[in-house]
Amino acid sequence: MGRIAALTRNPAMIALVAMLAIAGCASKKTPNSAADLGLNGAGAATPGSAQDFTVNIGDRIFFDTDSTSIRADAQTTLSRQAQWLNQYKQYAIVIEGHADERGTREYNLALGARRAAATRDFLVAKGVSASRLKTISYGKERPVAVCDDISCWSQNRRAVTTLSGAGS
């Protein structure tokens, strides 16, 4: 149960729930779901808002263990992010790099920084101005999922694109 609750707190998963709903799949109603937020499917958030970015675009990507390469699914998300960011140029952007707990503290600070940089470089390659982008690493200090197994670690190995002031 703890794991399910953790999943639904994750905005990326909320976006997934929303997309499934459009496709006609019944999604189990859970607290904090897109439906509860009054976001019945994509497009309910004001276009160009931070909420629109988080819910409809997806603010985070995930990495393989001890890896900093941008996976194919992450490339799709980042391409969507770049398109959106290039459309709404009023936002400054901070990319947070995170690691799971299966590494030592100092190494994971460095690993989170590398993930943030890889994410930044991808967005720059997709036309987002480098001057809008800052990075920060939280290492393993800010997990979103808190169980002690693989389902959580995979959610914690992430880079989160945050719009000025909108934390993760």
């Binding site: 707990e101 100092e106 190494y107 800010r142 997990p143």
Partner: protein, 434 residues
């Protein structure tokens, strides 16, 4: 600079020899060889010290010696002789029958000026003689310190090695849910007593380390937004940024002479390299320049070399280089990922965290990478720090929802948990004050 430790006045060994007690021999006949493979703890009797604070002090001495794993304090209920005059020779035969190898007697009293006066005598039971005796004066705030100093003296006399009980530990106090952990800089005695907070918990703070004179800490904080390395004067609370770099600085440690801080600096390409900064001139020297993560640098005690972690070969491994960055050489070749290397204060070993087979291990290896020995294995544990005598390591282990501090000696057989009110991580052991 005022030291917290200053009020303690240590007075040299007392002249003993009253009541026909044998005078101090040239060397102790009673000695515990701590370099044997399997050390049998020495049975030692420590009756309550005389005086109002006596029992409190002797309890701390007893706990220190017991936790070292080298001594087996005998149950007080087994004692035959009741010590009434700690300055008089004991009835050695009464202690022989309970197989006490050593006996510690002592007393604690209040001086007219308010200070406490503590004295002890160490007796070699089978040698029928006193082998040590000292007295100390301290103010009230240093009661526990007096006990630790006595424990150190006994440890040193009986093992021939420096003690480590009169030391402190800086660490990160952690409280709250795992996904909203509050992290505070804290300092305490090595046995978990006298905790004091050094930060307010508003910002994430990590990896504190002592300066050689025990008066400063270098650590990493998120207080400015971007994580950076700071210096903190423990007594005054004065803080300053170490260097003015554009990106993240992390993994700081002092050089053995206290003149430099060595740390990692994030490169714009996302990799991290090692730099040393001279604290007086503020000049920085680049020591590594690799397209890799180079981090967790730690100086050898003579300051001539640096051990660090790098993933330049694919996965994180341990490397050694000259203090100027020359001759970077990989030394770990075992099956797994190695990180957080820390050079022993004796110079002979490097402690590390190793990840292998889904486990985190704390181990030591010689400085050329040979002779690897694993001292402790667990699901999640990391970050060893050395006791100043190079015989015990402290690290942190995550279990039951959060990290706690654990110590283990070089045999790997004596593991002890260090009591802390909250979760605790990133311990760093202080040096001894000379």
């Amino acid at each position: 600079m005022k030291s917290i430790l200053k009020p303690l006045l240590v007075v040299a060994a007392m002249a003993m020899g009253m009541n026909g007690v044998a005078t101090l021999p040239a060397r102790a006949t009673l000695e515990l060889n701590v370099n044997k493979g399997n050390v049998e703890p020495m049975p030692i009797a420590i009756p309550d010290f005389q005086g109002g604070l006596g029992a409190q002090i002797s309890e701390i001495v007893t706990a220190d010696l017991k936790r070292s794993g080298l001594f087996a304090p005998i149950d007080k209920n087994a004692f035959v002789e009741k010590i009434t005059n700690p300055d008089a020779a004991p009835r050695f035969d009464d202690w022989k029958v309970i197989n006490a190898q050593a006996l510690v007697t002592g007393s604690v009293s209040k001086e007219a000026d308010g200070r406490i006066r503590a004295q002890y005598r160490l007796w070699d039971i089978f040698g029928n003689q006193q082998i040590a005796g000292e007295q100390f004066f301290a103010n009230d705030a240093n009661q526990r310190r007096v006990a630790h100093i006595i424990a150190d003296a006994i440890y040193e006399k009986l093992t021939g090695e420096k003690g480590y009980f009169d030391t402190r530990v800086v660490f990160i106090d952690e409280s709250g849910a795992k996904n909203a952990r509050k992290k505070r800089l804290a300092i305490m005695d090595q046995d978990g007593a006298n905790v004091r907070y050094l930060s307010d918990g508003k910002s994430i703070v990590l990896t504190p380390r002592f300066s050689p004179n025990r008066q400063e800490i270098t650590y990493m904080s998120y207080e400015s937004g971007q994580p950076r390395v700071y210096l903190l004067q423990i007594e005054t609370g004065q803080r300053e940024l170490v260097g003015n770099f554009p990106g993240m600085t992390f993994a700081p440690r002092f050089s053995p002479d206290g003149q430099k801080v060595i740390m990692s600096l994030l490169r714009d390409d996302g990799n991290s390299n090692i730099f040393a900064m001279d604290l007086r001139s503020r000049s920085t020297t680049r020591l590594t320049n690799s397209i890799a993560i180079d981090t967790s640098p730690s100086y050898s005690p003579d300051g001539s070399k640096v051990v660090f972690t790098s993933d330049r070969g694919g996965r994180a491994q341990i490397y050694v280089m000259g203090a100027d960055g020359s001759g970077q050489t990989r030394i770990s070749f075992g099956d797994g990922v190695y990180s957080t290397p820390v050079w022993s204060p004796r110079g002979d070993l490097i402690a590390f965290t190793k990840q292998t087979g889904g486990e985190f291990q704390i181990g030591v290896m010689k400085t050329d990478g040979s002779g690897e020995r694993i001292l402790s294995s667990g699901f999640q544990q990391e970050g060893p720090t050395w006791a100043p005598n190079g015989r015990v390591l402290m690290f942190f282990r995550d279990s039951a929802g959060g990290p706690k501090l654990v110590s283990v000696d070089l045999t790997g057989r004596n593991e002890q948990s260090i009591p802390t009110a909250n979760f605790a991580s990133d311990p760093a052991w202080s040096p001894l004050l000379e």
